[in-house]
């Protein structure tokens, strides 16, 4: 971070000769950390069992129209989780809201239907302050 002469002079005037220049702020120990790009295997999705039950209870007819059957629930979930992790790693999401509880995102996923077609869908998660990705709704809608 490069500070202009004017900025340094204004700091010295405001805080005296003891002003410490942090990376981005005065009197701050902020520093840059490099974070490696995550791969799909490193992403852990937190999907409470109730979210799965809710998906199949309310949206099973929709999944059937995509070529799946009632017996394909495990396959549906495997495909869904893979698509979500891929979308997250690729940055294919939109931030919907952020507050002190976390950041709500909508992932744009390519979901393979039971009929082999690719459906562009949305899936919603909250990134909690500890980095967990907790599911809000497994399939929100068509993109």
């Amino acid at each position: 971070m490069n500070y202009s002469l004017e900025f340094i002079q204004s700091l010295l005037k405001k805080f005296g000769l003891n002003a410490i220049l942090g990376l981005y702020h005065p009197y701050c120990h902020c520093k840059e950390l490099s974070i490696s790009k995550p791969n799909e295997n490193q992403i852990q999705l937190v999907v409470p069992p109730g979210k799965i039950d809710w998906l199949f209870k309310d949206k099973m007819k929709w999944l059937i129209s995509m070529g799946y059957t009632e017996n394909d629930k495990d396959l549906i979930l495997t495909n869904l989780y893979q698509s979500c992790k891929r979308a997250y790693c690729q940055g294919n999401y939109v931030i919907k809201e952020h507050n002190r509880y976390g950041v709500k995102i909508t992932l744009n996923i390519d979901f393979v239907g039971g009929n082999g077609k690719i459906y562009k869908l949305k899936s919603s998660y909250t990134i909690s302050p500890n980095g967990n990705l907790k599911n809000n709704t497994l399939i929100g809608s068509d993109q």
Partner: protein
């Protein structure tokens, strides 16, 4: 009232209108925990509840996106009891901590240990 119950919105408020949520709409509680005396509610396309409705490639294009809104407990009424039992509720709670406030029964906010948050029934700030 608890997670996965279907609930009706009883009141209009500006903070709900921001999310296109209005009195009379029916949604599902999707948060296990109660925060600031509110539940997170999800409103899905009403056609999902129509008995013989069939989704096609055409009508999927007009599917309404799931809409989320945080709503005060006092502005909600249960219209259909959900499938959640205490095991399911516990799995929804942050760090699966049973001390989180997570249900409303007979005007009291409760946790899974049976403790009550409010002193006066239906006065959720008492």
């Amino acid at each position: 009232m608890q997670v996965y119950d279907k609930v009706k919105v009883l009141k209009d408020r500006d903070e709900y209108k921001k999310y296109d949520v209005y009195k009379g709409m029916i949604g599902t509680i999707i948060s296990g925990e109660i925060r600031d005396n509110c539940f997170d509610i999800c409103f899905i396309d009403p056609r999902f509840y129509v008995e013989n409705f069939v989704w096609t490639d055409e009508n999927m294009k007009t599917m309404q996106e799931d809409n989320f809104c945080t709503i005060k407990i006092e502005d909600l009424e249960v219209v259909e009891k959900g499938f959640a039992d205490e095991y399911i509720i516990l799995k929804e709670l942050p760090k699966k901590n049973p001390k989180w406030w997570c249900k409303v029964e007979e005007g009291y906010i409760l946790n899974l240990l049976g403790e009550k948050k409010n002193k006066i029934p239906y006065d959720y700030n008492s």
